[in-house]
Amino acid sequence: MSNVSLRDVEIRYGASQVLDRLDLDIGAGEFFVLLGPSGCGKSTLLNAIAGLTEVASGTISIGGRNVTWEEPKDRGIAMVFQSYALYPTMSVRGNMSFGLRVAGMAKAEIAARVEKAAGLLRMTELLDRKPSQLSGGQRQRVAIGRALVRDAGVFLFDEPLSSLDAQLRAELRVEIKHLHHRLGATMIYVTHDQIEALTLADRIAVMRDRKIQQLGTPQDVYQRPANRFVATFVGSPAMSFVKGRIGEDGSFVAGDIRVDLSAYAFATRPVPGQPVELGIRPEHVARAETGLAGVIEMVEPMGADLLAWTRLAEAPVSIRLAAETRIAVGDRVRIELPGRHLSLFDLASGARL
């Protein structure tokens, strides 16, 4: 149970800079999720916190202690590696218990913990296999187990559930949540799974280009994305965008369509005529008799519901409908864009308005 804070941390691999004077404060016991496109530096960041990659500049402190120069073992962390990094010569049991044995924990206690972890990872009967005898997902579970058994102050998860099936993933999500409550440990969690991010996180950081784009609660990030990138990146099916400008009356104007923004909560007041971009999430597009007219161009069934694509002012816009909705390509629809759920971005900077 210890907070983690980074002060203008910079990390470079040879010439290329991966993290650029990053400042970050993660509260003790917080569940912190890192989102970001592949290659944006998430793992690097975790490695830096773990003390596995040297920072070029800046300081890292855990639990108020400056650990910038300390060995991983002195940082009180447990980590799930994106590449698993299992000990090939040890059995699953060996892999899980190794950290504990090193710490000199009592045999019985170790056995108990390993059993428990194995149980909730559904691999009790695999405990005596070698990693090379496991499936991809099973290996990943071993990697998770290796972290779960430890009681560290900070847990670092690097895409821990990426190759598990939805069901198991849901179950483990819950388990991790429980663990978090039980230990009250700080957890830093990298994932590409939106649901994971939104359900687990106390706070989410969205990274890109060596910087953090937005830092906030799941709701914030989802409903009030700080800029166009966050808007596109978070949420799937993704948000649709319509280019236009601010009309005299402060409403959004694009070609012949006009969207009322009176209900919109502006971050910064735009000036009339300013070129802007309007973001709409599929689930917020409502069908209404009196609304903007469109023609269905494509229909994607997605199990729970289906996604219909139409166009507003040349821009493709997706609409989420119930799976059983009777709708086909070519149908005309009328839709309504509820002002308070929209997002408005400055066209030039991409910043939220």
């Binding site: 490695n47 773990a50 003390g51 596995l52 060995e71 991983p72 073992k73 962390i77 447990a78 980590m79 590696f81 590449s83 990094a85 299992l86 000990y87 090939p88 010569t89 040890m90 190794f98 950290g99 090193v102 710490a103 070698k130 990693p131 090379s132 005898q133 290796r146």
Partner: protein
């Protein structure tokens, strides 16, 4: 040197086993082999690990540890002989500087001389073991080292408990190489002690060579050689069956 087609009866084996020099040779080989392989592996591994610590002048040090391997024993053996000889080497040196009590004459003590051979042999082979293990070490996936560091291991335990097991192949290679050099041990004994004092440092290979090439005693030589091969087979065959059995378990993916 020319093989004779004279039938070699069992009596050759009888006279072999009753041959004191042969008995001594075998005893020596056992002692020498055990000590030498163990020490060479340990020292070699230690060196490999230390060399691997991103130290300065790695190339130089590595060459230093390897150079003994580059020279034939004909002369390096002589050098060791001088160093260990009580009347020429270290003992003399110590006594010259006043430590008249200093004694270091294992080379001339029949029951100690074999350790001198081990000494020189380790000196000669450790570098090679280092090289083999170093090659293995460098192949280990860095992520696994990271994992070990996170698991809180002090460096030496990482090497002992995580990496060493992963180097099974390299260790096997090194061990077999050393084992062959033990069984074939000849030059060293010739160069350093020529089997002496007396027959105190005789070894089987030398026994075979001498009887084959210098004493033209093909019968005894072949008897000895056959015995050696039989022994080796007796060790190797089970080993292989075991490894094969283990190989079925699949390998690191």
């Amino acid at each position: 040197m020319l093989p004779s087609s004279v039938f070699v009866g069992l009596r050759q084996y009888l006279s072999l086993f009753s041959n004191e020099r042969w008995q001594v040779s075998v005893a020596n080989l056992a002692l020498f082999g055990g000590l030498f392989i163990a020490l060479a592996l340990i020292l070699g591994f230690a060196l490999a690990v230390l060399i691997d610590q991103r130290i300065r002048g790695e190339d130089l040090l590595r060459s230093v540890f390897l150079y003994p391997f580059s020279m034939s024993f004909v002369v390096t053996g002589l050098a060791w002989r001088w160093i260990l000889d009580p009347t020429l080497g270290v003992q003399k040196l110590l006594q010259d500087i006043g430590l008249t009590g200093a004694k270091f004459d294992w080379l001339v003590q029949p029951d100690r001389v074999i350790y001198c051979l081990v000494f020189a042999a380790v000196w000669h082979a450790a570098g090679l073991v280092m090289a083999i293990l170093l090659a293995g070490l460098r192949g280990v996936d860095p992520d696994i080292l990271k994992a070990a560091r996170v698991d809180g291991l002090p460096a030496w335990r990482v090497y002992l408990q995580v990496i060493a097991p992963m180097l099974g192949g390299s260790f096997a290679t090194a061990t077999i190489l050393l084992a062959t050099s033990v069984v074939r041990l000849y030059d060293l004994s010739v160069a350093m002690t020529n089997g002496g004092p007396g027959i105190a440092s005789e070894v089987p290979a030398k026994f075979v060579m001498d009887h084959l090439f210098e004493r033209g005693n093909i019968g005894l030589a072949t008897a000895a050689a056959t015995t050696m091969l039989a022994t080796i087979a007796a060790v190797l065959v089970p080993l292989f069956l075991w490894r094969q059995h283990r190989a079925r378990g699949g390998r690191h993916a």
